[in-house]
Amino acid sequence: MKEATKKKKPVTSIGVCSDASISASGASFVYLITGLSLAVGFWVARNKFSVDLVSNPSLTLCLLWSIEFPIVIFVYSFFRRSPEKFSYFRALGRSIIGLFSGAFMNALGAIALGAPIGTQYLPKTIHWSFLMSVFTFVPATAVFGASWTDWHRVFASMKPSGNIEYMIFSPAYGAIIGGWFGAWPMPLDWERPWQEWPICVCYGAIGGYIAGQIVSLSVMFFLRKHNKNLKLA
């Protein structure tokens, strides 16, 4: 164990390495930024526009995703695949496409699972799916681009490898599963305002997103220890 501690690398400030991998503390830094920007979104909505999810879900969601989205693409584009081939700005550009296609997929999924259809629900659904897209699709498009094999391996086969793939995989699935569970209180007759679509689903998704981040962080720490032990052996 002593040797293990000796061999422990000094952690760099951000942890961006040349092969676009990231250390666990770097990941926690990224998570801190994304989490903070979510909090900023809520703060802006509360203090500048004096709305919240319950009173005006569309505007709040719009604020949330439009504050979160630039942060996410700026951060995740650093970790793009084969940075020598694709420039940073190209990664930014393709994640904007990813935002729209992801929003489309998320909206379709929500409607298939029973989200209400109607003109009064349309803006809410759209903004909700943009937020979900920022959680799920945008980081992946920033990193993977159109590399379908990576998409397939991470999302369909659920076999992420390396810290950055965990950083994409775990919060995305966390947000989806959290949103899925968040839909549970909707049919109950508690007559609370937050039971409306998409408020509790949003809470669930944000909670799941954060839980996914925590899970991926702990996996990273665990894996690194594990790898160290393997190396020792």
Partner: protein
């Protein structure tokens, strides 16, 4: 292998489990919903005689002239009737607390000030009020029945009464009618449903528009001045619904409540001044009774068994009693059922036969001593008769006709004794004491002048008997025998364990043999398998919450859609990008998308449940746009159903004659259905009277049943194509039979269901075809998962057809299509088929599913080397399709039974949990029927094909 289950053992275990389940279920149902032990018939003059006298059945009583009958009753009863007329004012949903206060405290100021006249009557001693405890379910119709018949109905009584609502048991109104009373009813039309043809004049109002709190009462009161001026009636019933509506819209503290109470108070004043105090008309003495059928909760709801709901009012106005104290006039307790014997004795008619109530003591004050004792005696006799029906006659040894009067009872001295022992003996002993004391008082009355002490002893003795006897009888109708419940639940638990064990052993055998051990151990539960089990768990948990039971359709549809997404994930996972997107994969994705889209449409078709029914949905939208669109949808789905059916039939590639005949018959049927819908679809409610429609419907039934039975029995014999393997033949044959069954069932549903439901039928058919196509394209999902998913989809479809867990959504109109004469059994079967259209459709689709599986696996080695043994083959093909639905259903049934048992004191036990239990029982029946059909057809087909094959091989051997 000794650990392997043979086919026979498997079958025996399964059947034993099912039989155990049926036994357990029936024991539980009879324990939980006790069938009220009732005496049939109507009380007559025999009720004025000692119950131990063998009175000859007086058959001529019904022929006696009403007036003579009235005089006969008066003479026999020995109680002089002081009142000639009765006004019964029912205020729906008025808690007694509003008028009488609670726990000895006067009512709240706002309520008290709203009813000044009633309060002054109470204070002056002109009125006496009772907190009349109502029995649950606190809903209007059962409570009215309890008031007029004195009997407490069971839940099944309520549930199974949607066919005829008329009250056929012995009741007060019937008794009044028999002695020639003229009755007038103004108010809730429930009375008209309960007593058709009884009222001389009536004006019914509907309680349908709950928001209407004003007009509904105005419609009652507008006749009042006129009726009070007339003197041709004996009984006037006023039923005001407004207060209940106020409660439903605004709760107890609604701002409208005070003005509504004021209005009720004005009506009481009018009636009291006009009918009782005003003696200008020659109308005799009038008694005014103000009652409420039930109370209401803080929010204004009712139906349960809390104090607020059961605290109903019983207020007698015009009794010449000598109460001067306000507390004595208000702080009295009674039961709602006590109204029936009280009115019967006051107005000189026999007490209704199944009455469990006792005389309200405050009403006796105006009677003379001997009349009081006589009234109590009559009440006791009636209760004793009811007890006699439920107790062994050995307990009544020594009693004989009029023995108490003569002092000749065997073995029973004329002295009173201390009563002890078990409840039944104690009650009989109490009765004997009362009768003996009554006898003593009677004999002494003639000789001694001061018999006050004897009188009060007899009075107390009667009261000592009546109260416990009434409670005992009431508990007999509502009590739940614990040992029966325990026995039923444990039998169901055991059968559930048996089913699951059988399933697990089959599971182990199939999956440990077919794949290498390490693989199956490493991913013991794949994602879908875990999800299927999680759905089961979620369902079981959600059953404990009443709102989840009400909104159960959300769970099914959410879960089923999530399952489609998991399928999509699985399919995408199996893509290999090195080869590019293959066509097979595209086909699969397309099928899954069609599943998703049709699932969403099905979900949006009917906004089911209880709380959100007002939200827009497709069916409402279509009906709003106009009936023309519904017609178009009906037409299109009819054509598409036939088309899809034909396509499936011909896709097997067989061009034999039988297939053509089947196609012909089913298309004929389809066009007949169209004809029926086009011509007679508009008047759904008159359909049973139309001769042509009935003939067409009967023709459709005939053709459908002929083609279904014919296909199943004939097809296996003529499907011998030599160049195919034996299993592929059997698979083809089963696939065809399954397709025929599904097509027939869909056509039948298109005929029976409401026109708006033809769209969902088509969507369900599409779903079945999509999922069967998927499973035949090697979905890499285990067989039992697919079958469980089919079961879940069936349940989701059940709710998509507009069903819910309340009894109100059962489609009664469709149950009379094609039935020329009224038959409860036939229309019951049709009603069951309409309600369980979707689960049965998916269970029937298992035949097609098994066929497709067999055909696909005919070349696989495991099946081939097992195919020699029919038993093994049957076990492999039928094991999961039969066991999985049975297991799921058994788990859900057992879990819900336990939930119901835990919730037996819940507020919503009668309004939410019990109807749901009836649905669960019906689902169980539906699963049994479906599995039975599947098992029989598959076993028959496989044995026929095996037999044919063995014949040909022997023939070939002989030839060579």
């Amino acid at each position: 292998m000794t650990t392997d289950m043979t086919c026979t053992r498997l079958t025996i275990y399964t059947v034993a489990g099912i039989i155990l389940q049926i036994i357990g279920l029936s024991i539980f149902v009879f324990g939980f919903f006790p069938v009220k032990p009732t005496l049939s018939g109507v009380s007559g003059s025999e009720s004025y005689r000692d119950p131990f006298c063998d009175s000859p059945p007086n058959s001529k009583e019904s022929e006696i002239h009403p007036e003579k009958l009235r005089l006969l009753y008066q003479e026999l009863s020995g109680i002089s009737s002081k009142y000639d007329r009765l006004i019964l004012m029912v205020i729906d949903g008025l808690p007694a607390e509003f008028v009488l206060g609670k726990d000895g405290q006067p009512p709240w100021k706002v309520w008290k000030e709203s009813m000044p006249y009633t309060q002054s009557l109470l204070a002056n001693g002109d009125a006496i009020g009772y907190h009349a405890k109502a029995a649950p379910p606190t809903v209007t119709m059962p409570r009215l029945k309890a008031m007029v018949s004195g009997a407490i109905g069971g839940f099944l009584d309520v549930a199974f009464n949607f066919n005829t609502q008329a009250l056929l048991d012995d009741n007060l109104l019937g008794q009044f009618f028999r002695i020639g009373w003229k009755m007038v009813m103004l108010g809730d039309e429930t009375w008209l449903k309960l007593f058709p043809g009884t009222f001389m004049r009536s004006d019914g109002v509907s309680s349908f528009f709950v928001k209407d709190t004003v007009q509904v009462d105005r419609n009652v009161s507008r006749h009042l001045p006129n009726e009070l001026n007339r003197d041709d009636w004996n009984l006037l019933i006023l039923h005001y619904l407004g207060l209940d509506h106020v409660g439903h819209t605004g709760g107890r503290n609604s701002p409208l409540m005070a003005s509504k109470l004021q209005e009720m108070d004005d009506i009481v004043r009018t009636m009291h001044l006009r009918a009782i105090d005003d003696r200008s008309h020659d109308q005799g003495q009038t008694l005014l009774i103000v009652v409420s059928d039930h109370g209401m909760t803080e929010n204004g709801n009712h139906g349960g068994s809390s104090y607020e709901e059961t605290d109903s009012l019983m207020l007698f106005i015009g009794l010449s009693s000598n109460i001067s104290d306000y507390a004595a006039a208000t702080n009295n307790l009674a039961f709602q059922v006590d109204l029936a014997p009280t009115l019967a004795l006051l107005f000189g008619v026999p007490i209704p036969k199944n009455n469990v109530g006792v005389l309200v003591p405050g009403t006796l004050n105006s009677l003379r001593d001997y009349e009081k004792l006589r009234a109590l005696e009559l009440n006791s006799w009636q209760l004793l008769r009811l007890m006699q029906a439920q107790l062994p006659s050995s307990l009544f040894e020594g009693f004989s006709c009029n023995c108490f009067l003569d002092g000749t009872c065997e073995g029973l001295g004329s002295d009173i004794s201390e009563c002890s022992g078990d409840k039944e003996k104690q009650l009989i002993c109490l009765f004997r004491n009362a009768a003996v004391l009554h006898g003593i008082w009677k004999s002494k009355k003639l000789t001694e002048s001061s018999a006050v002490e004897d009188f009060s002893r007899a009075l107390n003795a009667y009261n000592a008997f009546l109260k416990p006897a009434s409670e005992w009888l009431a508990s007999k109708t509502t009590e739940k025998p614990v040992y029966l419940l325990g026995l039923g639940v444990s039998a169901m638990l055991i059968s559930c364990i048996v089913c699951v064990t059988v399933f697990l052993s089959l599971f182990k055998e199939v999956y440990n043999d077919s794949k290498d051990r390490i693989c199956s151990l490493s991913n013991l539960l794949s994602l879908e398998e875990g999800f299927i089990l999680a759905v089961l768990l979620i369902l079981v948990i959600s059953m404990g919450s009443s709102s989840m039971v009400e909104e159960e359709h959300y769970i099914w549809q959410f879960m089923v859609s999530t399952f489609y997404f998991l399928l999509l994930l699985k399919t995408i996972k199996s893509f290999s990008f090195s080869k590019g997107l293959n066509i097979l994969g595209d086909y699969k994705v397309g099928s899954i998308f069609s599943l998703l889209i049709s699932g969403r449409l099905l979900r949006g078709w009917h906004q089911g449940g209880v709380n959100w029914t007002c939200l827009p949905d497709i069916s409402k939208w279509l009906e709003q746009v106009g009936s023309g669109y519904v017609k178009w949808i009906q037409l299109i789905s009819n054509f598409l159903v036939i088309g899809l059916g034909m396509f499936t039939l011909f896709r097997t590639g067989s061009k034999r004659k039988t297939v053509r005949i089947l196609t012909f018959s089913s298309s004929t049927c389809g066009f007949l259905v169209l004809l029926h819908a086009g011509r007679y679809g508009d008047d759904m409610f008159e359909v049973s009277t139309d001769y042509g429609a009935t003939v067409i419907a009967k023709l459709i039934y005939l053709i459908l049943s002929l083609s279904a039975i014919g296909a199943a029995s004939v097809l296996p014999w003529c499907m011998l194509i030599k160049d195919k393997s034996f299993l592929a033949e059997a698979g083809d044959c089963l696939y065809l039979i399954g397709a025929v069954y599904i097509l027939c069932w869909c056509l039948l549903q298109l005929l029976l269901q409401q026109p708006i439901n033809s769209g969902p039928i088509l969507l369900l058919l599409i779903q079945i075809l999509a999922i069967t196509g998927l499973s035949s394209k090697d979905l890499q999902v285990k067989e039992w998962v697919e079958i469980a998913a089919l079961y879940y989809m069936g349940m989701a479809g059940h709710f998509a057809l507009g069903n819910s867990n309340t009894l109100a959504t059962i489609d009664v109109a469709g149950a009379f299509i094609g039935i020329s004469s009224h038959s409860t059994i036939l229309s019951g079967i049709l009603m069951f088929m309409i309600t369980y259209a979707s689960p049965l459709l998916f269970l029937l689709s298992l035949v097609m599913y098994i066929g497709a599986k067999l055909r696909n696996h005919s070349h696989s080695t495991i099946m081939a080397h097992r195919a020699n043994d029919l038993g093994q083959l049957l076990k492999l093909t039928l094991g999961f399709p039969c066991l999985v639905p049975l297991c799921i259903n058994s788990i859900l049934l057992t879990a819900y039974t336990v939930v119901l048992l835990l919730m037996r004191n819940h507020l919503f036990v009668w309004s939410v949990f019990s109807p749901k239990y009836l649905y669960v029982c019906a689902t169980t029946l539906c699963t049994y029927i479906g599995v039975c059909i599947v098992a029989v057809i598959v076993a028959y087909t496989l044995s026929v094909t095996t037999f044919l094959r063995s014949n040909t091989t022997t023939r070939r051997l002989v030839c060579s």
